[in-house]
Amino acid sequence: MYKLFLKIAWRNLLKNKVFTLANVIGLTLAFAVAILLSMTALFELSYDQFHTNKDSIYQLALSNQTPKGTRTSTASPVPLAPSLKNEVPGIKQITRAVSEDALVTYQEKELVLDAHYVDPDFFAMFSYPIVLGNGNHPFSDKRSVAITERTSQLLFGDTNAIGKTIYLLLGKEDRPFTISSILKDLPTNSSVDFQIAIPFENHSDYAENLDVWDSNFHEVYVELDKGVSADQFEKNTWEFTNMHYSENIENLVRDGAQPDANNQYKQFHLLPYTDVHFVSYASGSIQVQRTFPYLILGISFLIIFIACANFINMNIALSEKRLKEIGMRKTLGAIKGQLFFQFWTESLLIFVTALFLGLVLGNLLIDPFKILFNTEATLANLTKPSILLGFFVAMFLIIFIAGGYPALLLSKMNTLRALKGKWEMGKNGIRNVLIVVQFVIAIILISGTLVLQGQLQFMRDKDLGYNKEQVISIPLNGKKDSYRVINLLREELQNNPNILEVTGADNNLGRGRDGSLSTSKWGFDHKQRGVTTNILTVDHDYLKTLDIELLSGRTFSPEFKADSLSLVINQAMVKELNETDPISVKIMMDDSIAYTVIGVIKDFNFQKITKEIEPLTLFMNRDWDLYYAYVKVAPGTLSKSFEFLKTAWEKIEPNAEFQGSFLDENIDRTYRREKMMTTIITSGSILGIVLSCIGLFAISLLVVAQRTKEIGVRKVIGASVSSITLLLTKDFLKLVGVAFVIATPIAWYALNQWLQGYAFHISLSVWFFIGAGLLATVIAFITVGGKTLKAASVNPVDSLRTE
């Protein structure tokens, strides 16, 4: 019996080649893309889930009630962790951690490694398995370090690394360390990524800050004792904070800050470690947002939905032709169950084929996909039993519902009506709903695409207040003193007319090829009021190199000897200081040193464009290291100058990799997330539209088939081809119109929410939505128009000959 069903199903699918093909292609595409997208989403969601103790590990964050509202930060001072462990009960283990680049030397080799400075508890808390060395205590003493397998391969090749001595550049001196353990390579879904773990005491800022409570530069992770809740622990810290931060709190009160709901000015929060990857402090308070992975999951679900709706609609469309068969089978004694099973077999055949092809296609596309979407996700991440089970349950449900619904409709047909070929479907309710939903999805995705592309373009084109096209920034990752490197660069480059300026600073603009982003802030009291500013140490010619406009006063100059005590500030800082004439204003930054403001520069976007321009103060102090060199080149010969620069660099720092890049590339790199989202939504909307159109096309076939007689009659009594085409198309356009009305408010709300996350953003004009609606309408019209035009041109004799 079942063999027969399969045979009939196979023949039927062959008979309707166009539909079978359209279904298989549509479903295959949908499955392939949905599998890839879900893979990305599940990978994102799997971040840090591999730690055995993940449920009791927390990241420590401190929220401050400032006069401007709540500000939360995870940066902590050195003495915090030991004091907290001693004074507040409930901590099982605690570790400080800070990520930094470390310059490692072994014999002739010189490498910049991602280093993680941690306390010994780190390895007992987190699950980073040790391959070689001593168990849970990778650091045998304070001069020993742990490296990953890949790093070991990099440094020592295949020889055993344990016990070997390497040199680390800490501050300004090379110091020897023994390798005591080899760690398994870190999983890609770990939010912490390092190549070498170094005992925290060796950090260059450790010793001088041992008892300093207001220099915050590292993170603290806490594992609580069993039975201690995060809430309880947070309450227990009140007394601790009020004691250790008393002076700071007094200042906050003086400046007019309001306490939080618990009447605290400073409050420790425990952020579950599995939330760390998704946290944002942009609004001042802790916000855990998993929107992005869920958005991707949502899109893959929508795509599957569109394809399934197509399948249902197409199958119903096709059934029109099979009514006689159904009637016949019923008179021959087929019962409902058998008919259902027969039709369902056909659906099953298509779905299983599409699923198989989708998996194959997904696998083939995985590499380009990973590059395009910049993800480390692999299908291997998905081969967990729970995910596989979920996948099969989902597939079964999809096949059961999408494949079963048309089968159920058909098997329920009244025998006599079926024989007569009368199709009474109850006014196409389901069909219209499915089409409207498809187009709602398509219009939302299209308007999303338009707005995202618009915002991305806006951010790229925006005048950031400095010259991003002509300036190359180079991370100073070599061993030489930064000022010396910059001077050497100046000498090396001065004879090339295409190199215009050379300068340096201790921070990059945008995200360079070294991948680092950092902010340095400084708070101090000015006229009995707390003031915070971003700080940046620069070399001579910084403004000239970057074309930043000087509004008043002067900039740093070699003619003035005391410029290490001079400040150049931006407009936002002028406002922060609340001075009408800021030039020559004295600022006591540390209690003893008085700085003088010598110049005011125009605001420029030195941080991500999502942020408002914050106060910024430029320093020039030879005792403070620079980390980036900036080189301005003449327009027109950009790539030639770049090559020239690279050669010069290799001469000056032969052991350090040249990581220079143009600032506009750096800025583009900070838009990674936006670009990824735009790519996903764009491809989702294209796929959504293509699939919806396949479906719409099928429906237009159905409608034409249903209305053949009517078309004939209308033509006989005088309707023209165009009026009939319009008549048939109108119904579909109406559905698109309804979809537009439903989709626009949803899209508007969602996109508006999204844009609010950007301090500088495009305004949400109605044209984005009208554009999306028009696009959907035009595409729908083209899809439906062709078929209906053909139907309208048919000789009415043919359609009326059914008597």
């Binding site: 004939g712 009659v713 209308r714 006989v716 009594i717 005088g718 023209s720 000789n795 009326l800 008597e803």
Partner: protein, 220 residues
Amino acid sequence: MLLQLNNIFKWVNSGGQRIFLLKDINLNVEEGEFISIMGPSGSGKSTLLNVIGMLDAFDEGEYNFLDESVHTLKEKHRANLYKEYIGFVFQSYHLLDELTVKENLEMPLLYKKFKGSERKAMVADMLDRFNIVGKKDLFPAQLSGGQQQLVGIARALISSPKLILADEPTGNLNSKQGEEIMELFKQLNNEGVTIIQVTHSEKNAEYGSRVINLLDGRMI
């Protein structure tokens, strides 16, 4: 002379053989005639009617309608021609199920771009003439077969055609209803409308002024 068919041939090719649907048809129809086309199933009656109604093309021969040579006309002109002068009545009525009686009657006028007020007047006139004013808001499914055919004829007549082509207009009706319809045709013919009907029934054929017999596509 209303229309003239000269040596009309129509065929289809099937399995390498040419099968004639119409073979050397010569026919002159004067205005005011009432012609019945008779013959067994498959003899080409409906095909001939469709050719006359310009719904179907032919392969050879000449067709003149009111001094226009139909065989040389473009599709669009041909459509205009039959829209203007010909009304069709079908065996299975072919009313639009989702429109009411009134709306069905109005449909041809819409396609001929009559003004709203004119359409209203003409529809009211027709409803009145056929005594179906009371049924104007009913749907076809709510009418008996005879009443549906009545609406069908009213629709064919509404734009005052010169020629009515009726393909077995009483085929789906009982004898009493059939008689009424034929009486109606007779009356219309007396009012000057030319009618060509296809029929199986000798009795119905007698209403006409002339009978054309077809066999295997040939006039006999």
